[in-house]
Symmetry: C2
């Protein structure tokens, strides 16, 4: 069911929306102003980062890098783009600017980034974009668009997975409620990257090799009106024997036995539901999974499911299980598990107690925690709306800030300390403790500072709080920034979606549990070197106006 | 700046994501099961509707219909789709099913819909989809995806517009925070439809003819380090006269006068910010609008802006205004307005007091109400994150329910009354009162019932609450459902985005104010005829199992 698709080689991806014009108008007007005042050749450095991890948590999964590289590769304004821009900019705009735009590409850009699928933290540049000021500026909106939601939804998926526990299978069912068709496709891709096990989205399966899953809806059940409607249905035995058994008759017999065993009134089971199940089983004898809550779970859905599953068993088929889409999921799953156990024992079908119970009713992260407390019996969750729309926090606030022009560091001030930028061209190291867990991230200037080394003490300082500092003696040091794009080429082999998913899972494991817990997680430390601390605060004082009181 | 684009003829729209495979896998598995049990020719009727208006409100704008029609038009599985599906469905799947899929199109589907841009209410079918059961089933997810978010974000935009007031200009700035690149494009389109005045999204401007707007970012200001950096900048007078004025000198003179007038220390203004403003003015002398909060609004940004605007005035150019992106927007806007008034008076530049004040810092619907209470002086709002991600409620829960198969009504039961479906093929009428306002919506079966008429009393009943009913004597009756798609063709001329936007604004006006207010709005009444009421409850009793207590 899985097909291996290269993460980046997906030339098949039909989304032409990602193009240079998918940007804010002010990027174009600024590019013109830069061009006009001879800043067109200035060399700029921009940092892309976020200020706070989403969902009240203390970690974020970095996602969207592959899409950014694809965008850089094809960054080029088309003829019709230029025609359109001429109609938008004022008549006073110099025509040579449009020639300049028309000839632009991303070949003079150098992109440093943290590898996709890494756990990341506030203030750490996920991307460092270097190159001619107007070009680097023109990339801002698109890069933000590609990273913000991808990272947000991958993080959400990772949190759902942590909440559900490793052994549970999580399926993304969000397409119909996603924010636009591509929102749905992006969600499917990055939920899988964040640790989900599959998706209902067929196009995501085709394009990205994500396992696709699904059964049937209530509409399928309600489309049947009576048992008599079933004409010509029959199922051949699994072993290929030609022995004819009348499947409908077999089901009728099992329904009597099951009803008696469950002490329910046989006539109260909906025979139209049984017809739907038989019909579905005849289409999928090897993969029978039924939605059991169209009429009444315990009076009709479960008895009908057991009936068909036992009849299939007579023909040598093992059914998969049931899906619940309403009601009290913990209570129902426990009661259903106990029914499966007792039926398995009574009718000597040992695998019956291991039937899969899938639940899919409006589940969010909190629901998962609450279900755990109730010791539910659900094996698999189908999760839609809350996952893909990230209802708890529907946007990640990544920003793209200018930190250097022509070798001169730039700072953006703000009355809110968290909005002050850290100036200059910086690199990032992750320092690990002796138990292999990530301990602290350290930012420093790219040049003029020695890089941290294992087993060598280094002073790490809080970027803004003078007294917060610590000596760290790392067991291992990881350089997080890697060149991905230079001279118009992707310079590092890219990993498939499946590989990035494995990296994500490993990166989450490298983080201590207290940083990952749902309630009051411990903040992960992000620090600067002593040199960078002094440099930052000197520039801050130089740049801020001094008030006059009188 | 506006280009007129046909709403539907946009063959240029590059989003290939909307295709038959953009669906949930269970639609395909159900289609196979229908096909296998000879239900492939059954005639089905599905209703697409929502159960509750979003954002705690009592109205919704219906949007996305044009996209649905485009989707129907090109509904066809490709060769590679079929190859992929063969790899996903079990080996037992009959090969003829894939031939059947491959030959499918939407030509046997008939689509009734409420016109796009209409104010709509819970339970009212926005679409009625009729046709072969498997085909109508296969359309479900894609139609929901196209309507859910479009309607949600259009409604959000309409609510922001109501909150800001008709006279304020609202600009959508959300691309970077939208849920995926297409999420951003969809947001720009449907925010405009919902009443916004423009967008920063250039691609949306190109594709849909939406007015695009934008100025510059903080990065532009911080890219300048000193006044001396400005080389070769000059601006020609607006009247074309060749009289040479040194614009930088002119600015220096004005800065002294402005500083004196505002009683600020001239040296405290950031000269690098002034350089940035001059540079921007030289690129856009006819459209100067400056972001004034990079360093300090009142000590630097506003004095520098006034300086450049007054120098431009000497050359015969009228500036547009300023943008604020942080801090207390009401307070700052009032103080800025008073500065503009006093400068205009002192230096005899009457239009100065009418300069536009744009605000754009994390604005949501509640912020707008709160700003109104503080009697702000903002003319235009740039709104991003909260608008496009619909933070208050990031998904609209439209559903797609089977209501009839081969002439037999179908009902979906639920313990939650609001989830019970209204069975059968239905049409909808909107009844208006003598003052032209919408009074009540009335659902009835398509056949066998007389249609409501103006000035004729009709009994309208709550669908589930026996005692809630009223006689209504409408002044005008509007039939809401119209055929849009039949025999493989769009059968009704479609309106341009600009026309649909006008329809939306008119439809909102036809709604009483108490339904639209932000706090505790009056619910709009949605009713059924007496016949439909009796029919629904009879079928409900027939379908629900009776409990057994002992």
């Amino acid at each position: 069911m899985e097909t291996s698709t290269e993460f980046l080689s997906s030339s098949e991806v039909p989304n032409g929306v990602v193009q240079p014009l998918l940007t804010d108008l002010y990027q174009i007007t600024m590019a013109y102003a830069y061009w006009k005042c001879e800043k067109r050749t200035s060399n700029a450095v921009f940092d892309l980062y976020f200020r706070r991890s989403p969902f009240g948590g203390e970690f974020t999964i970095f996602a969207g890098l592959g899409d950014c590289l694809k965008f850089l590769k094809k960054f080029k304004f088309s003829d019709s783009d230029i025609t359109y821009l001429k109609s938008v900019l004022p008549a006073t705009t110099e025509p040579e600017f449009f020639d300049y735009l028309h000839n632009l590409d991303a070949s003079k850009i150098t992109l440093y980034a943290i590898p996709e699928g890494t756990v990341v933290f506030p203030r750490i540049p996920l991307l460092r974009v270097e190159g001619p000021l107007p070009v680097a500026q023109l990339l801002e909106t698109t890069l933000l668009t590609l990273i913000n939601y991808a990272s947000l939804v991958a993080t959400n998926a990772a949190r759902f997975k942590l909440a559900a526990g490793e052994k549970k299978s999580l399926l993304e069912f969000g397409l119909r409620r996603a924010q636009g068709p591509d929102g749905g496709l992006t969600a499917s891709k990055y939920c899988y990257m964040g640790g989900f096990d599959g998706s209902s989205n067929v196009l995501a399966g085709k394009l990205y090799g994500i396992p696709v899953r699904g059964t049937h809806a209530h509409a399928f059940v309600s489309s049947f009106t009576s048992f008599e409607e079933l004409s010509g249905i029959d199922i051949k035995p699994a072993n290929g024997s030609t022995e004819k058994k009348n499947f409908k008759e077999l089901c009728k017999q099992w329904l009597s036995k099951v009803s008696k065993h469950l002490e329910i009134v046989e006539e109260q089971t909906k025979s139209s539901e049984l017809a739907a199940f038989i019909s579905y089983a005849s289409a999928f004898p090897t993969g029978f999974l039924a939605l059991v809550d169209t009429y009444d779970v315990f009076k009709s859905g479960i008895p009908n499911f057991c009936t068909v599953a036992l009849a299939l068993n007579d023909l040598g088929y093992r059914s998969i299980g049931i899906r619940l889409d309403s009601g009290d999921l913990a209570y129902q799953s426990k009661r259903i598990r106990s029914i499966f156990q007792s039926i398995g024992k009574t009718f000597n079908v040992p695998w019956f107690e291991q039937l899969t119970i899938v639940a899919s009713n409006d589940i969010n992260e909190d629901t998962l925690h609450s279900l755990n407390e109730q010791v539910h019996q659900i094996d698999s969750f189908g999760i839609g709306t809350h996952l893909v729309t990230c209802q708890k926090q529907p946007a990640l606030g990544c920003v793209y800030k200018l930190v250097e022009v022509d070798g001169k560091p730039r700072i953006k001030l703000s009355h809110e300390v968290e909005k002050v930028t850290i100036p200059g061209r910086k690199q990032v190291f992750r320092l690990y403790s002796h138990d292999g867990k990530a301990l602290i991230d350290l930012l420093q200037h790219v040049t003029a500072e020695a890089e941290p080394e294992p087993n060598k003490r280094v002073l790490c300082r809080h970027p803004f709080s003078e007294s917060k500092r610590a000596y760290v003696n790392p067991s291992r040091v990881e350089k997080l920034h890697v060149i991905f794009w230079k001279d118009g080429k992707i310079v590092r082999p890219l990993r498939s979606l499946q590989e990035v998913r494995a990296d994500t899972i490993a990166s989450i494991k490298s983080l201590r549990d207290d940083h990952k817990r749902a309630l009051n997680p411990t903040p992960y430390k992000v620090s600067v070197t002593d040199d960078l601390y002094r440099f930052l605060h000197k520039l801050w004082l130089e740049s801020a106006p001094i008030g006059e009181l009188s």
